[in-house]
């Protein structure tokens, strides 16, 4: 490996990294084991220890570009899924138009993230194709539980809500990673995609709430327990999501190992935020509030591993995309 090229590539992702280490030349003094014999195999671990010191906790050795690539893969999943909307039967024109808006956004997210990766001096991965995915949930059989997704809007929208809610959780879990917080441009971009995915999720839920053929979807009434007619926000665990028994992991807890300090990936029913348990007795102003409001008011993040496990429900056997 070219050690000095690595240093300059890292500097492109985070121009301030060497300020954290005094100067570029003094990066060497922060490596543990200085003076010991270095082998080529040992070099990556030395580099890792240097940048762990620069950024504090860096779980799983993720770099900023790794995080951008993970986001890109999720955006490809969505973009390709939305490109497969064209044979749906029974959508109102309002809802068809909304899907087109969402499809445009996801394609835009793909190209934006590719450009950001390029701007770091890295090469974005070869474009992901539909061959990686089986959105029927059949791992490549195209005969999974969602087998009619291309033509049945209820099935399609159930998947769409699932993908958008997952995307929101993924970006939210990634933002506080030290490699993301260290780069204000990448962080702000991640936040600015995250909220757009939440807008999508809200609209998709309204489409399911009102019904696929409804021309005024915003006027639909939510009906508990919210699997079929959800609110625009997640209420508890939404009874397991659009397809209880299959989509539950999207609303469940994640894996906290390697998470940044004090951050845990709770189920969406969580009502304890930063150690403060929220209920009608927490504040006099909350008197009479429905208990569901306390979980609805906050969305929860999810770790990369759990998001990947969810994504693999929709990739083909043999795909290494997630």
């Amino acid at each position: 490996m070219n050690f000095f090229q690595i240093l300059s590539e890292i500097e492109k992702v985070d121009p301030e990294v060497y300020d954290r280490l005094d100067s570029r030349r003094s990066v060497f003094k922060h490596m543990s084991g200085v003076g010991q014999k270095l082998t080529a195999a040992a070099l990556p671990l030395f580099i890792g220890s240097v940048f762990n010191k620069a950024y504090g906790q860096t779980p799983s050795g993720l770099t900023a570009v790794n995080v951008l690539d993970f986001a890109l893969r999720l955006e490809y999943l969505e973009a390709i899924f939305y490109s497969q909307r064209t044979a749906l039967v029974g959508l109102s024109s309002a809802n068809a138009n909304a899907l087109t808006l969402i499809a445009t956004d996801e394609a835009n997210h793909v190209s934006f993230l590719r450009n950001v990766i390029t701007s770091t001096g890295n090469t974005p991965r070869t474009a992901v194709t539909a061959a990686e995915f089986d959105f029927t949930g059949g791992k490549g059989s195209n005969a999974g539980p969602f087998s009619d997704y291309r033509t049945n809007p209820a099935t399609y929208l159930a998947l769409a809500q699932s993908f958008e809610d997952t995307g929101v959780r993924a970006y939210k879990g990634a933002a506080p990673l030290s490699v993301v917080m260290a780069n204000k441009t990448v962080l702000t971009a991640a936040l600015n995609i995250h909220s757009v995915e939440a807008r999508h999720a809200s609209r998709l839920r309204a489409m399911r709430r009102g019904g696929a053929s409804n021309s005024t979807p915003a006027q639909g009434l939510a009906v508990s327990p919210y699997s079929s007619a959800p609110k625009s926000w997640i209420s508890g665990t939404d009874n397991g999501g659009a397809v209880p028994g299959t989509t539950d992991a999207i609303y469940g807890a994640g894996n906290n190992s390697g998470a940044p300090t004090n951050i845990t990936f709770e189920a969406e029913s969580n009502t304890t935020q930063g150690g403060v348990t929220l209920s009608t007795s927490t504040s006099t102003a909350f008197s009479g509030f429905p208990s569901a409001a306390f979980s609805e008011a906050f969305d929860e993040g999810l770790d990369v591993g759990t998001v990947s496990t969810i994504a693999r429900l929709f990739t083909v056997t043999g795909s290494s995309l997630f």
Partner: protein
């Protein structure tokens, strides 16, 4: 042999193992079961008195406490708005099975929860919450569907832009994470309100960079045309709008957030 080159937790104790910055130690933000002061080492830099106060303005402070107070201020505004909505003649005209009533009720609950949660969090962190703000609205704001939903849309979009634009000024990962948990709910709010105002505008170029680039003055907020990113705003860009709904003596000074 290879053990010696693993990350700091395995390396022998030397001065190389201390963090390369020195956090300002304050009483731990959230002392909940399992957390110790040593493990958390939270940075709560700055305090409310860091900056000279513009006369009559409410200075939110600086550092993480400043950002939390800034968020608390905006949630105060939203909570107050929806409280007044529910007392106004448009809302009271809505039937019990109205979808708009269901939405406005939930927005009220969520924003009041956000507001009081943030106040408790700021206090729990050993910082001082700003005072209760006094709001002002144009006459008739709460009596028509157009003005209720139009103002709601403005506040929800503003909240999303504010949280997204403030993230870069937060030092403590937990606070950024909490801000993230709130902002996606605000974005869900914004989307349904916007569709109620005008069907199909849950996203639109006025809030998402669909066809034109971001015009924020902060370079990290910028997004190119065709990227479909939220148009995040700096604290000063946000309060230029928020302050039009805050009375003299309650207008926000966010100059400490940087």
């Amino acid at each position: 042999m290879s053990d010696k080159i693993l990350s700091g937790s395995h390396a022998p104790e030397t001065n190389l193992d201390r963090p390369l910055y020195t956090p300002i130690k304050r009483r731990s933000f959230f002392m909940y079961a399992g957390a110790t002061a040593g493990a958390t080492a939270l940075v709560l830099a700055g305090c409310k008195d860091d900056n000279n106060n513009s006369p009559g303005m409410v200075n939110v402070g600086s550092g993480d406490a400043g950002v939390l107070n800034y968020a608390y201020a905006l949630e105060q505004l939203e909570a107050d708005f929806y409280t007044q909505v529910r007392m106004g003649s448009y809302y009271t005209s809505l039937g019990s099975s109205s979808a708009e009533k269901q939405v406005l009720d939930d927005l009220y609950y969520h924003e009041v929860i956000h507001r009081d949660f943030l106040r408790a969090a700021i206090t729990g962190a050993g910082a001082t919450p700003i005072k209760a703000l006094t709001t002002v609205y144009p006459t008739g704001t709460f009596s028509s569907r157009t003005s209720v939903l139009g103002t709601a849309k403005a506040f929800e979009d503003l909240g999303v832009a504010a949280y997204n634009g403030a993230g870069q000024y937060i030092s403590t990962p937990l606070y950024l994470y909490i801000a993230g948990k709130i902002v996606s709910v605000e974005a869900r709010h914004a989307a349904i309100i916007r569709d109620l105002v005008s069907e199909g505008t849950f996203v639109g170029n006025d809030v998402v960079t669909i066809s034109t680039a971001s015009s924020s003055s902060v370079s990290t907020n910028n997004a190119p045309a065709g990227s479909s990113l939220e148009r995040s705003m700096s604290p000063s860009e946000v309060v230029a709008i928020a302050n039009t709904f805050l009375a003299d003596g309650s207008k926000l000074d966010v100059s400490g957030i940087r």
